[in-house]
Amino acid sequence: MENILRERSNAEWIAALGAGDEAAVGELGEYLRRTLAKVLRRSGPSADDLADFAQEALVRVVAGLATFRGDAALPTWAAAVATRVAFTELRRRRAREAGRVAFDAAAEEARSPAPDAGGLEREEVFGALRRAIASELTERQRTAVLAELRGVPSVEVAARLGTTQNALYKLTHDARKRLRAALLARGFDAGSIHEHAQEGADR
């Protein structure tokens, strides 16, 4: 891609964007639009979407200049922000189409968590995992874990649970820790958990 960005240090970028320098804002916005066109090429975004995502990212970058760590070129950080903006919006749209039904099903299952009894447990560890989901997780954790396993995007799960995506990550991280602790308490060591997890990994 033709380099459309004039050479600037991070300090110059921050000063220019902070001051609303039209040239700097325009260059970065165009850079983000072109970068997103490539990042999203597989999903075939419309020109309007690309312009909207780049604009939204630009607003967030300017608003978040104080949080920029400065350990990369500012356009690289801006491109990461733009990628997050675009993927989140595309996931939100997919969730509107399909995720609502999947979330509702996950929430319903989370309310009645009795593990399948007498089912064909092909592996003992799966049975232990099912029991741990039912006994060790809160209903909220079960809902989040089940919804994500069913492919409901985190942006939709967070919205339905009335929380933020960062808080949702903490919720599911805590759930994973509880499940791991439960498996260890039931006699599976870290090595056997890893071994079972890797089975079929190349499928």
Partner: protein, 79 residues
């Protein structure tokens, strides 16, 4: 619950990589640009400060999807 074998295996993989402390998606986004540039410049051995970013990528499929998409494009742009 009607969790199938594929779903249980996916969950087991996530449980397998779970660490006591993990960064969330917001902190990952704050820090990923530096990591992208270090990887791009050929730093084959991750810096110690990158370990929790790598851990997050193992545990978060959405951040992994975004990372892989952007990494491929940045390599193209600079390659």
């Amino acid at each position: 619950m009607n969790l199938g074998s594929d779903e249980l295996r996916t969950l087991l993989r996530l449980v397998d990589v779970t660490q006591p402390a993990e960064i969330d998606c917001g902190e990952f986004l704050d820090r990923v640009a530096g990591y992208l540039e270090r990887v791009e410049t050929g730093a084959l051995v991750p810096a110690p400060e990158d370990e929790d970013l790598l851990q997050h990528l193992r545990a978060c499929p959405e951040c992994l999807e975004e990372f892989e998409a952007l990494y491929a494009v940045l390599r193209e742009q600079r390659g």
